[in-house]
């Protein structure tokens, strides 16, 4: 990671409370990134406070469902719909859920 970046590995079940902690500490959401791994996905949530970047990371199996953080960080709805549409990752309770129609791709979940 970058010089002033931090990377913290978390349990997927602690995503929502950890995101809430970040929000209460004054961080804003920068991006959510999914990377394909063998049998699943690696998810990285990046938050910034000033120039400092903190990344939360966890791995999930292919069919695992995760909770949305869009009720904590409003912009998350776009990133969550994006990784759902491109990778097929199932995310529950997205604030604005496009149900697979954010990206009108010729092939369903093209990055899966």
């Amino acid at each position: 990671m970058q010089d002033n970046n931090q990377l913290k590995i978390i349990d997927p079940n602690t995503l929502v409370p950890t995101a809430l902690e970040m929000k209460n500490s004054g961080y804003r959401l920068v991006q959510i990134c999914a990377t394909r791994t063998e049998g699943g996905y690696e998810l990285t949530y990046s938050f910034a406070k000033g120039y400092r970047l903190k990344n939360l990371r966890f791995e999930i199996a292919e069919e695992t469902e995760i909770m949305s953080v869009s009720n904590i960080f409003e912009p998350a709805f776009l990133y969550e719909n994006e990784i759902h549409d491109l990778f097929g990752i199932k995310i529950n309770l997205i604030k604005i859920d496009y149900n697979g129609t954010l990206y009108k791709t010729a092939k369903e979940t093209p990055f899966k």
């Binding site: 990671m1 002033n4 991006q31 990046s46 970047l53 960080f73 409003e74 912009p75 954010l102 093209p110």
Partner: protein
């Protein structure tokens, strides 16, 4: 209670040649909610890392967008160079600053023209683009290209500018400055322009922070952040402070971008004075192994390049978070409470680049 109706805006609209769609929920002519739709032309460029090796991917990165093409190439190269611990020559770092700031000036002038066009000030649009044309001529003279330059590579730059060329560019920017001042005075002082921009589309400092706004959109709401201060290329050698405004309306966003044009000219002058002699690239050995998250300040704001490599010539992942994508939630906030007639102007004040968003 007023009657509610939903008006579709886009994906094709006269003020916006690129496809974005908004469902506008109106009470009479007042917008109470907006829901965006994107993804009409998603290109899947991130997926191309599976077919192009990490050196070839520079050409893909710079095709993410035709306006900030140089900066996309630079951001990707800087990320890979950090993974591979490559220290590029100082001259290459300064060249990156000069071409990046020229890109910022041309992008802001392009945007000023489009904004003038959106509120029907055609002569202002033409004057803005006439000036932008001079920057494109400089790009052509120094790189051979007007849109895609292909001067970035892993390990430095493919092309150099000789000292006479740099001096000529500084002189040209000096000559442009008085014309630019006249042009920008019209944007900032003309009655009709002010009427369309002032007190419209407010975004508070807290909203800009919470909604993840970036670039001039964020700085016009009083947040003093600019990722150039994080020190990539030769920016640590350059003296500048982020341009901000505390007002947070559409006028403030124009004001910030105009001041950034003059700041970029100053940065080019500083770089021209400090650029050392020497080579512009170093040989690259081995394959990248590791990951890096690079943050670069593009004309529209912070772009994030995440690169993950596995020790082979093909990367595991390239992910680009573009500034327009980050500014969409803030745009939705500015639309709340505005009149339907102001929607095109407000969309333009985030300086949307759908090409970047549909990477």
């Amino acid at each position: 209670m007023s009657k509610r109706s939903i008006v579709p805006f886009g994906p094709q609209h006269p003020v916006l040649p690129e496809p974005i769609h908004l469902d506008l929920v109106l009470e009479d002519e007042k917008v109470v909610q907006a829901v965006p739709s994107i993804g009409f032309v998603h290109r899947g460029l991130e997926k191309l890392v599976e077919k192009k090796d990490y050196q070839e991917y520079v050409y893909v990165a710079e095709r993410i967008c035709g306006i900030c093409s140089f900066m996309h190439g630079m951001g990707y190269c800087e990320a890979v160079e950090r993974i591979m611990n490559i220290e590029i020559p100082d001259r290459a770092k300064f060249l990156r600053v000069i071409w990046a700031e020229m890109s910022r000036i041309h992008s802001h002038l392009l945007w000023l023209g489009l904004t003038a066009d959106a509120f029907g000030f055609e002569s202002l649009f033409m004057e803005s683009w006439k000036m932008r044309e001079k920057i494109l001529d400089m790009f052509e003279y120094s790189t051979g290209g007007r849109v895609i330059f292909s001067v970035n590579k892993i390990g430095g730059q493919r092309k150099d500018m000789d000292d006479d060329m740099i001096k000529m560019f500084v002189k040209l920017f000096g000559e442009m400055e008085s014309d630019l001042r006249e042009l920008t005075n019209t944007f900032l002082q003309d009655y009709s322009v002010n009427t369309r921009l002032r007190d419209v589309g407010f975004l508070t400092k807290e909203q800009a922070h919470d909604l993840g706004a970036v670039g001039p959109m964020m700085r016009a709401s009083g947040i003093s952040l600019d990722t150039r201060k994080m020190g990539y290329a030769a920016y640590p050698e350059i003296k500048f402070e982020p341009v901000t405004s505390n007002v947070g309306d559409s006028y403030a966003r124009v004001d910030v971008r105009i001041k950034e044009i003059f700041q970029s000219i100053d940065i080019i002058r500083q770089a021209a004075k400090k650029i050392p002699a020497g080579t512009v690239d170093v040989p690259v050995k081995g394959m990248p192994d590791g990951e890096f998250m690079m943050r670069v300040e593009q004309p529209r704001g912070e772009a994030v390049y995440y690169v993950k490599a596995n020790g082979t010539k093909f990367l595991d992942r390239v992910r680009v978070r573009t500034p327009t994508f980050a500014n969409l939630p803030a745009l939705l906030e500015t639309l709340k409470g505005c009149q339907l007639a102001d929607v095109p102007i407000l969309i333009l004040t985030i300086d949307p680049c759908i090409s970047c968003t549909e990477r």
